[in-house]
């Protein structure tokens, strides 16, 4: 005869396994795709109390970059982003670099070594990187004037520079 207790225990374990599977599935989110609207997300600027939102820059081309003081390639990306802001700022480009550091001090220490001539914000809560479903550090997003994601870059290598520049020019030329 089958023990009734055994049956319910088996049921419980099956449900529990399904729950565990669902948990694992949801934590490994799909990356954001080109053509999707840029997720709304806000973060306070590092140089003041003002909070910015990606949607504030509608009408401009936004190069949204997620960085951290502990991220190696970010050190190479900052001079490049300064260059881009200088070159295309007049044409409607706004670079927004969101730090995912745990403290503002860590982010500030990085900025004193690698100064930024563009907007820098801090999201230590991880809401913005989660909304943009980052696949690596640093990650950057080319967002067009209508607020649509045009291109996504995970990581930063010297050889990506030409491609990023071209994508920004294309986005700036599009209406």
């Amino acid at each position: 005869m089958r023990a009734p207790g055994g049956r319910s225990a088996a049921h419980v374990s099956v449900i529990a396994f399904a729950a565990a599977g669902a948990m694992i599935f949801t934590t490994s989110a799909w990356p954001l795709a080109n053509g999707e609207p840029a997720p709304a997300c806000s973060a306070p600027l590092l140089d003041g109390g003002r909070t910015i939102n990606v949607a504030d820059y509608r009408g401009k081309v936004v190069y949204l970059d997620f960085w951290a003081s502990w991220c190696g390639p970010c050190r190479q990306s900052f001079p490049f982003m300064n260059e881009l802001q200088r070159e295309f700022g007049g044409n409607g480009l706004q670079i927004v670099a969101v730090s995912v550091d745990k403290t503002a001090e860590d982010a500030q220490r990085f900025l004193t070594r690698y100064p930024a001539q563009f907007a820098t914000a801090l999201d230590s809560s991880g809401v913005c990187p989660a909304a943009y479903r980052l696949q690596g550090m640093p990650s950057s997003y080319v967002i067009d004037r209508k607020g649509t994601v045009r291109a996504i870059h995970a990581g930063f290598r010297d050889r990506d520079k030409a491609e990023i520049r071209q994508q920004l020019i294309d986005a700036l030329n599009a209406s």
Partner: protein, 75 residues
Amino acid sequence: MRMSRRHSLACSAVLALFALAGCATVQPWERGTLAKPAMAIEDPVHETTQKLRTYSAKEGGAAATGVGGGGCGCN
């Protein structure tokens, strides 16, 4: 009391589940602590080179840490 096959299966499943609860996905933006030098799996390259050099010297000869090639005894 003898445990039924079904019971033991269920028990092991529940145990496995407890083990699974210890797994967590560390997202790319949460790797600040893991990025610290102390968290590296290997020592820095220059340190490893120095350690190997000392070790080889202490072993009193070449190939203290192994050598490629055949078994003819010639280095």
